[in-house]
Symmetry: C2
Subunit: 283 residues, 2 copies
């Protein structure tokens, strides 16, 4: 009996990095529910149009995606997993085409920008902005354009029957994006060893120091902390905090209860297994 | 005797948000040195091709720009000022053109994305990606295209003799970017009341908690804290921290000296006057 493939909602077109993160987490037997915006990913999961959502939360070069945190705060979904994906860019063209033949390179401006040094090394080549990376690959394939290339993923190249003319043309190889897997239900994919919370604090002296003390006093390792100003009058701040442990552990429950004494708002986003290259702490 | 206008290096084309931040800080009698990349902004300031650089460091929706922090760490420049700019998008067309006449809207994909709800409300209008917002305004002006509009800034509209057909079309009005003003020399533009530092920590238990204690013990308000994983083997973390005060104050000097006891690396980026809507703390 064949199993139904899991439906995974992502923001973006086919072959977006979110699709690759989904395949890295769930394997290849999934069906992608492509959504225009992050809001739609959440809606798809809430309305059971998808089994899970996979959403980027942080990039090692460009920082946290606060918009996604906002959606995690305003919707009651569970974080059930984490994926860390290396961001790579590849130059893709028709089979048999050589680099010297290329006169135009199409891609999303972000992909063009990330490959700036490579593009600068080429002579007489024009970079042209397009809406999406895989769409550019498809366009030069469909129209049989042999003096153009696109910047996109290996998978797009393979599925469209195109060749990777030059692999990993991105300027900075240490470019990683962290994704969360979101679900309507509490699920476990292995041993949960990491917990993410969001909180805001009472306006008391040394509030942040006190809030971190609830973990330090219980020898709980912190994995991430970030303050985010919320504009209004006066400024308010919220904090993103990840710690090692899960909420089945008594010391973690105690820390959260203690933290609640000094916060105005606290939301546990979920406990989940940390992505495998993501285990060290800074404490 | 007329004064020479200040040369301000920014990343991006004319009318980029960095230019507006520069005008907000220095006034209108400046000359913009337009640079292709953040690296070039730093180089321009170091090589005295520009008097100052103005660089984005953090956006309220999309997070910290780690790339700029890297450049602040690897170059010995001083932070001498801070600007907070609201990010607005405007629909721009030829004077006399009505919204109903528009069939195509050009802009950078980021500006299109930020105006998604507005674009979705229009019928029979195609959104087309372009390289830069002001370039799109110039293009429809130069080519006399009257059934197209561009998304860009008020200043671009004004300088190119075009009209703002619809103002503030961005989906999320609470979109702010924080910029730093960088200089080769320590300068002061008013009373410095904020200091930014970056540090990494020894691998000791409760290290972050201890590092924040050096401020809490001296009643110094923290204005921002963010951990950033640095990939390698094993993971290392660095921290961005802003606090209220400047390094002429003895308690701040003491806190920094105390912090040096438990950090592996510490760099003071500068003390400067906080941008005016940026005064509250979370402590």
């Amino acid at each position: 009996m064949q199993q139904q493939p899991l439906q995974i909602a992502i923001q973006g077109a086919r072959y977006a990095f979110s699709e690759m993160a989904s395949r890295q987490f769930f394997g290849d037997t999934i069906e992608i529910v492509s959504c225009r915006a992050f809001d739609d990913v959440f809606e798809s999961v809430i309305n059971k149009k998808a089994d899970y959502g996979v959403i980027p939360i942080e990039n090692s070069l460009t920082g946290s995606i606060h918009r996604v945190y906002d959606l995690l705060l305003s919707n009651d979904l569970f974080l059930v997993g984490e994926v860390v994906l290396r961001i790579e860019q590849h130059l893709i063209a028709h089979p048999g085409v050589a680099l010297e033949d290329i006169r135009v390179i199409y891609s999303h401006p972000q992909a063009l920008e990330q490959s700036r040094n490579f593009l600068a090394s080429l002579k007489n080549v024009e970079a042209v902005a397009s809406y999406d990376t895989a769409g550019s690959v498809k366009m030069i394939r469909d129209e049989g354009i042999r003096d153009a290339a696109a910047i996109g993923s290996r998978w797009a190249a393979k599925d469209y029957g195109m060749q990777v003319l030059k692999a990993e043309i991105e300027d900075i190889p240490e470019n990683f994006t962290r994704f969360y897997v979101i679900s309507c239900e509490k699920k476990t994919f292995g041993q949960a060893n990491k917990t993410s919370i969001v909180f805001s604090m009472k306006n008391i002296p040394g509030a942040l120091f006190k809030s971190l003390s609830v973990f330090a006093l219980r020898d709980i390792d912190l994995l991430r902390v970030e303050s985010r100003p919320l504009r209004g009058s006066p400024w308010k701040y919220i904090f993103y905090l990840d710690f090692a442990g899960n909420l089945d552990e008594e010391r973690c429950q105690n820390a959260i209860r203690h933290l609640e004494e000094i916060t105005t708002q606290l939301k546990v986003l979920g406990s989940y297994p940390a992505a495998t290259d993501n285990h060290s702490s800074f404490e």
